[in-house]
Symmetry: C2
């Protein structure tokens, strides 16, 4: 008897449950896997022996996972530290006959799978451990991109398109600057993706601030003034993680006025305070926060499909005997867009961060060029709307009854 | 020769251009109206004689107005004050043979139409002036509701649904409270509409803060703690305009910590600082700002249809000789939902604000009851998606070449 275990970890995306769907369906359909369990709240569900049996769920609800954002099984931020952690994990694996382990997450989570894979080898436990990638940050190395990125890119491109139309309407006698604060603490992929909304020179965004480029207030102000003199308004996407040249976060310092009063807040509020105070221009800012990474109502079809595929392929690779790998995405062609999956050794992935290459960023450091657009545009293609009832989406409601502890 | 003039005013909505579509199409199709002009940037376009001829626009782009959020013709916040203002307006009206005037806006804008209507009567100028309602705030009196409200309600219901799934995922070992900051400076309709996302007792939102009910920190904290102990997390919708008992805005006072440091910000950031500091609970907040009122990608079909209807009916009423009225919406039945239009004297509308009636609010003052749901639910029904190209919506691009000044 060989069972499989799946769990989700780290910050969520709007398509992580599509990967869950891929794993669960492939496992349920495999004659080599007896049961597929899901650990509740990531690896914590293993420590607490909180495992839910996917055969007990209503198949209709399993189908709805394709459309359901966020983590349907609960997530966690736990890092494995001590030998005791591993002893406990393998005690549980043995008790429940877990011989396939699929962990769905970002950089830290891939480190977790890798350590579990290595521990299994060390103690001679038969385990196939595969990492299923997920992160809106798109910062995992060796994979062309990461499931979750295409959908946040689509959400934010639509957001900046609509937000820019708003500030454009108001600019003649009121607000002239609109700032969209995006996720991205270390890498600027998410902020940069808003460039996909720009079809004409005058369209927003006009400025994109990425953590890869040190923030320069004078150049930033110059570009705002230039843009307003040309178009009457200015639309900006700012990554939460932008830094000064000395490496300190712009938002961490907040905005300090001439009287020494510091106003702390996110990057949107910090920049808006700067612009209002020093340029005397009325400014609005939006902070989508969770909405951008859980906005399944506007997910990319390409992204959902790939998220399902990496999940299903993780099972296929494991059944072929592979372990210690992450399922990566390889781009085959751009037009029409086509991709396939590949295996990436977890050693090459764990704890690495992929930044935007310099060759994608414009000379002034405040926008991205055609190479970035060529890279990112296929990833937001297609609308894959969830079903609706009474005006709002119908998302999965799983029972998640945990099996009796042995 | 009798021409018509249309303009947009005040804060925008995702369906104001659907009303423009109704006005423009009805005017173009009428044999009694020679030309339909649009004033650029609201009434300012009259003062500056910046008028665009709708016959010069590509009909395909006119069709796209149904799908285009924000103000396609520019908006303004100008209030008419002096006799000179009116003299100038009627000088322009006479020069361009304007005898039909349609002004699309909220409370202040209805005051403007009313004054123009009255001035025409006073000087004996043949003018049919009709107000076309628009405001996300839903605070215009005598109309059942206002175009724009259904769509912001749908946007925010989807937002709180998706944001709540996110905090639910993270709550086990990280963030436990999610706050959605909504528009609504005086009335709480917008914040209250998030209740439409709640299908089960455990669903978010768990708390709704409206300006109609004085903010009570102790009761608020009590309900947060109760909710977390029941469900593990708590999801909150907070109107930007909530006030203390003394009438001061909660956000205007900001959050003052024990050292006397005041952190100013929006209501989301203010409440999050309170909760983090005093309850020691990790809290996230989202500020959709412009995105909520320009989020056409997720507009309500009922709302779009009604927005078109009030625009087209404004023309019909004017051609019947009516002037000094706003087109209101009358609800005929709830299931299936059916509405029609009616005329409301502008005297009854201008500068009045309709608050949420007490009988819609729960006893604890922090939620709405079944009566509110019955009222609001039909207004978010139906999805009316814009067309997409390369992953983002295709919105109207008008030429807006202004006619030669006479």
């Amino acid at each position: 008897m060989k069972n499989a275990l799946y769990a989700q970890s780290g910050g969520v995306t709007s398509v992580i449950n599509a990967s869950a769907y891929g794993v669960i369906k492939a496992a349920l359909n495999s004659k080599d896997i007896d049961n597929i369990y899901v650990a509740i709240n990531g690896i914590n569900g293993v420590f607490n022996e909180q495992l839910a049996d996917m055969k007990k769920e209503d198949p209709e609800q399993i189908e709805l996972l394709k459309f359901t954002p966020s983590s349907a099984f609960g997530s966690c931020r736990r890092k494995l530290k001590t030998e005791e952690d591993f002893i406990k994990i393998f005690e549980v694996f043995e008790k429940y006959n877990i011989h396939y382990f699929f962990y769905n997450g970002g950089n830290d989570s891939m480190d977790t799978v890798n350590k579990i894979h290595k521990y299994a080898q060390k103690i001679g436990y038969d385990l196939k451990a595969i990492g299923v990638p997920k992160t809106v940050d798109n910062d995992l190395p060796e994979t062309d991109h990461t499931p979750g990125f295409g959908s946040i890119a689509k959400y934010l491109s639509v957001a900046i398109l609509e937000g820019t139309l708003d500030v454009k309407s108001m600019a003649a006698d009121s607000t002239k600057v609109f700032i969209l604060e995006t996720m991205g603490r270390h890498a600027g992929w998410v902020a940069a993706s808003t460039a996909l909304a720009k079809r004409h020179e005058s369209d927003g965004p006009h400025i994109i601030l990425m953590p890869e480029v040190p923030f320069n207030k004078e150049k930033f102000f110059e570009k705002i003034k230039d843009t307003i003199s040309k178009y009457g308004y200015c639309s900006i996407a700012a990554s939460e993680g932008i830094k000064y040249k000395d490496g300190s976060f712009v938002s961490a310092r907040g905005y300090q006025d001439n009287f020494g009063n510091v106003q702390l807040g996110g990057i949107g509020s910090t920049l808006a305070n700067m612009i209002k105070t020093e340029l005397n221009i009325k400014t609005h800012y939006a902070v989508p926060d969770y909405l951008q990474r859980s906005g399944r109502h506007i997910s990319s079809q390409v992204d959902v499909n790939e998220a399902i595929n990496v999940g299903a392929m993780a099972v296929k690779y494991a059944l072929e005997g592979k372990s210690g790998f992450m399922v990566g995405i390889e781009r085959l062609m751009n037009s029409p867009y086509l991709s396939t999956t590949k295996l990436i050794p977890l050693d090459n992935v764990a704890n690495e961060t992929k930044l935007i290459p310099e060759e994608y960023i414009t000379e002034d450091g405040m926008f991205v060029n055609e190479k970035f657009i060529e890279y990112a545009l296929p990833l937001i293609e297609g609308e894959y709307y969830p079903p609706y009832l009474n005006g709002i989406p119908v998302y999965a409601r799983l029972k998640l009854e945990t099996i009796n502890k042995k």
